[in-house]
Symmetry: C2
Subunit: 467 residues, 2 copies
C-alpha cells in the first residue's frame, strides 16, 4: 500500500483539496453493498461523523470486500472527492484497503438501537457507539473546561489523598483499604482487630471528600481545586449514585458568601458554554437521539442570571405553593432538608431558571460551615439546576477556632485525627470557602442522559465492578 500520512476523519471531512490522495484508518460503522458500488462508513473517534468510502466492487477482490463488516478495522487509501449524495460534503473513492482486524457476526455492538441497559453490560465495547463516543468526548471537554477555568483564574490543581485514615467528614459509608491477611487477623486482648501490621499501620479507607485537605492547600497557596475520584460505599442502586465518582472541589482563601456564589455561577456557566462551543456536533446528536430539549436547556443556563435566595425565602415560597394547592410528597417546614421535588419546584416551576440558595439551618449542614450572626443559620450555598436538582454544594467555612471546636464537640464528631485540620484555624486562620461539584452530575446535565452509569466509562455500583 502507498505510504501516505494518515488523515483523521475529523480533518478529512474539512478538507477541500479534492483530487488529493488520502489515507484514513478506522472502524466500519456500516458497509452497504450493491453490484455497482459499495459504501463503507468509516469512523475513528475524532468526530461523531463517519466518512463515506465509495468502492468500485469490480476493482476489488469480492471475498475481501465481503469480509469487511461492521466493527472491522481497516486502512483505506483513496481519492478525496466532493460528495455526490447528501449528508457529508466529502467522501473518498477507495483505491486500496488494508485490513487490520476483522469483526465476526457475534460482535455485540453490531445492531443499531440497542438499549442503554444492554450497552451497559458491554461497557467495554459501548465506547464504540455513536452515543458513547459523543458522551466521552463531552466528558473530556468538560474536564478540560474545568482545568482551563481554574488555571486561568489562578487556582492550583491540588492532589488530596485517596487513601485516608480520617473519617471526620462523615459524608457517607467508606470502603476499607487493607493489605491484611484476612485469614489471619491479629486481635488485641479485648478482641479488637489490630492494625499495626496493616500497610499504613492503622485502619484506612477511601476518601469521601478532599475538602478538609483542600482547606490546608487554600490556606497556604491561596486558591486550589481538587479533581479526583471519590468513593461512597452506600448501597444505593439508583440512576443518580455511583460508588466511585469524580469530584471537583475548589477552595479559596479570603472569599465571602457573595463572592462564592459569584464563583459558582461563573464557573458552571463557563462549563456549559464550553460544551456549546466545543461539542456542537456531539450535542446535536444527543439532542436528536436522547433529549430534544437538551441544547435549549444548556443555552438557558448560559443566558440566565441565576436566582439567589435564602433558604428561609425558599421555604416561604414552598409554603405558599402548598397553601395554593401544590402537592408535595414530603412536608415543608423551616428546618427540614429540601427534597428533590422541592428544589425542582423552585427551579422548574417557580423561577424557571437555576437557583442559588444560601443560609441554611445549621442543623442540616456540615460542622465546618460558617455560622451566621443569628446563630441559627450557616453560610452554606447550593446551586440547584433543572432536571438535576443540587449540582453544587458549597459554603464559607467557619474560621474561628473556638466556634469550630464547639461545633465539633456539640455534634460528637470524632476528631482525634483532626488536629491538623484545626491547625488551619490555630495558626493564621483566614476567611475561606469553597464548593463541591460531582463531575458525573455535570455530565448528566450536559449530555441529557438519565442514568449516571452511562456517563462514566466503567461504573462501579453495588454488586458491579466489571472491566
Amino acid at each position: 500500500m502507498e505510504k501516505i500520512k494518515r488523515t483523521k476523519v475529523a480533518e478529512a471531512l474539512k478538507r477541500t483539496d479534492f483530487g488529493a490522495t488520502v489515507n484514513v484508518k478506522g472502524w466500519v460503522r456500516t458497509h452497504r453493498s450493491s453490484k455497482a458500488v459499495d459504501f463503507i462508513a468509516l469512523y475513528d473517534g475524532s468526530t461523531i461523523n463517519s466518512i463515506q468510502i465509495v468502492i468500485d466492487p469490480t476493482a476489488f477482490d469480492e471475498a475481501l470486500l465481503k469480509q469487511i463488516t461492521t466493527g472491522s478495522c481497516i486502512s483505506v487509501v483513496g481519492e478525496l472527492v466532493e460528495s455526490q449524495g447528501s449528508g457529508q460534503s466529502v467522501e473518498i473513492l477507495g483505491k486500496s484497503i488494508e485490513i487490520y482486524g476483522l469483526c465476526g457476526s457475534d460482535y455485540p455492538m453490531q445492531k443499531k438501537g440497542q438499549t442503554f441497559e444492554y450497552m451497559r453490560q458491554h461497557a467495554h465495547l459501548r465506547l464504540r457507539t455513536n452515543s458513547f463516543g459523543a458522551i466521552m468526548r463531552i466528558r473530556h471537554n468538560m474536564a478540560i473546561a474545568i482545568h482551563q477555568y481554574f488555571h486561568e483564574h489562578g487556582f492550583y490543581y491540588f492532589h488530596t489523598p485517596i487513601i485516608t485514615a480520617s473519617d471526620a467528614e462523615g459524608a457517607g459509608e467508606m470502603f476499607q483499604v487493607t493489605t491484611k491477611n484476612l485469614y489471619d487477623l491479629k486481635k488485641d486482648e479485648e478482641g479488637h482487630i489490630t492494625y499495626n501490621d496493616d500497610f499504613f499501620g492503622k485502619m484506612t479507607s477511601l476518601t469521601v471528600s478532599g475538602q478538609l485537605e483542600g482547606e490546608l492547600g487554600a490556606t497556604a497557596l491561596g486558591q486550589i481545586y481538587t479533581f479526583g475520584p471519590t468513593f461512597r460505599a452506600e448501597n444505593s442502586n439508583t440512576p443518580r449514585h455511583l460508588a466511585e465518582f469524580w469530584m471537583i472541589e475548589p477552595e479559596v482563601a479570603f472569599i465571602d458568601l457573595n463572592e462564592l456564589m459569584d464563583l459558582e455561577e461563573d464557573f458552571i456557566k463557563h462549563c456549559v458554554r464550553w460544551a456549546l462551543e466545543h461539542c456542537k456536533e456531539d450535542l446535536e446528536f444527543l439532542n436528536k437521539m436522547v433529549d430534544k430539549t437538551l441544547i435549549e436547556r444548556l443555552e438557558g443556563v448560559v443566558k440566565e442570571d441565576f436566582v439567589r435566595l435564602t433558604y428561609t425565602e425558599g421555604i416561604e415560597l414552598l409554603e405558599k405553593a402548598v397553601k395554593e394547592g401544590h402537592k408535595f410528597e414530603f412536608p415543608v417546614a423551616w428546618g427540614m432538608d429540601l427534597a428533590s421535588e422541592h428544589e425542582r419546584y423552585l427551579v422548574e416551576h417557580h423561577f424557571k431558571k437555576p437557583v442559588i440558595m444560601c443560609d441554611y439551618p445549621k442543623d442540616i449542614k456540615a460542622f465546618y460551615m460558617k455560622i451566621n450572626e443569628d446563630g441559627k443559620t450557616v453560610q452554606g450555598t447550593d446551586v440547584l439546576f433543572p432536571q438535576i436538582g443540587e449540582i453544587i454544594g458549597g459554603s464559607v467555612r467557619e474560621e474561628s477556632y473556638d466556634k469550630l471546636v464547639n461545633e465539633i464537640e456539640t455534634r460528637g464528631i470524632p476528631m482525634k485525627d483532626m488536629w491538623w485540620y484545626l491547625d488551619t484555624r490555630k495558626y493564621g486562620s483566614c476567611p475561606h470557602g469553597g464548593f463541591g461539584l460531582g463531575f458525573e452530575r455535570l455530565i448528566l446535565f450536559v449530555t441529557g442522559m438519565q442514568n449516571i452509569r452511562d456517563v462514566i466509562p466503567f461504573p462501579r455500583t453495588p454488586k458491579s465492578a466489571e472491566f
Copy 2:
C-alpha cells in the same frame, strides 16, 4: 476599613500606578520592627515573592503591631509606592491593618531552614513555606501542561476505574478494597472467604494501572489518556516509591514504534518547556536553594535530540564500558533487566543526553507488548533521563489475538476476568500503543527534589497515611 477590591500579591508586584490605594491579604512571612519603621513581608500563594509592607509604627497601636508575627493572616490597605530598597520594585505604605488570624510562637513553620524531614512531619503546614509553595505551583503547572498537550493533540481524557476486580497487569502488590465485616467473615465449605456479601459481590482492589482499560478507550475513541491515582502496596521505603501516586497513560490507535517514540519525546519536552516558560520564579528559587544545576538540566532536555537505540545496542555499549574498566555493581549481559546504574551510565556518562531505548528482550517485559519478527524482542520503549533513570515506559501492543493468547498462556497469567481485554483483539483489532509516566517522577525531575515524598502534598508510604 476602606472597601477596596483585593489585589493578589503577584498582581500588586507588577503594578506601576504608584500612589494608588491597594488592599492585599495574606500571611506574614517575616515582621521586622524598629523604632522608626516596621517591615512586614506578606505572601498569599499567588507567587513565591512576598510584598513588603512598610509601616510607620507611630501611626499604629503598638500592641496590635506586636501581635503580627510570622504566620499571622492579615489584610492591609495602603499606598502602592516604588520600592526604596533593593529586591522588589514595589512596596506598600500600610495605612490600616485588619487581623484575620494570629499565630502563636508554637507555630511549627516559624523557623527558616528546617529540614525536609522535619517538614514532612508537618506536611499540613509545609505547604506554606517557600519551597513547598514553589513545588506545588510547579506540580499544578505540569498537570496543566499535560492536559493542554493531549487536548491540543486530539486525545480524550479517559477515566479508567480506580477500584478493579482484575489483577492481570501484575504490576505489583495490590490493596484490597472491602466493606466486609472483618469480625464476621463468611467462608465457604472449603474455608475460603466468600465475597458475594462484599460491596461489589467479588474481591476488589485498587488499580495498579489503567492501561488495559485505556486500550478499550483507544480502540474506540482513537486516542485517549488517563491521569489519575494509582496504587502499589509494595513495602518499599525508598525516596523513589509511593503507595499512592498519580500516573499518566496515553494510548493511541494506529501508532507504530517510531511514532510512539516521537510522541514520548515531544510530550516530555513540552512539559519541561512549559515549566521553563511558566514557572520561572519558582524554578529560580529551587535552582538557588535545592539544586544549582536544575535549570541547566531542564534546558538541556528541551534542546537536545534524544538518542534512540535498541536494547541490544545499549548492552553492547555497556559491555564495552565493562571491558574498558568501568565498574558496575550488577553484571551486564543480553537478556537482563537494566539496573538504574546502567541506565544512568548511558544517559549521564556515555551520551550525556536523554535516551529512548527500544526492542527489549521479550522475557523481561509485559505480556501485552508487540513481539518483533525475531521472536525474541518486543516493541517496548523506555525513556531514560539524567538523575531519574526511567521516566517513561511504553510499548506498541500486540494486536494479534492468537499471539496475545499464546503469551498469556505461556506466562500462566490468570485471565479469567480478562475476556473484555481480549475482545479488543477479537473485534476489529487495530495496531496501537502507549506509554506510562509516573507524575511524581516528572515532578522530581522538574523541581530537582530528591525525595518523592516532597513532591506530593500528602505522601502515602508504608506505615504512614497522615493528614
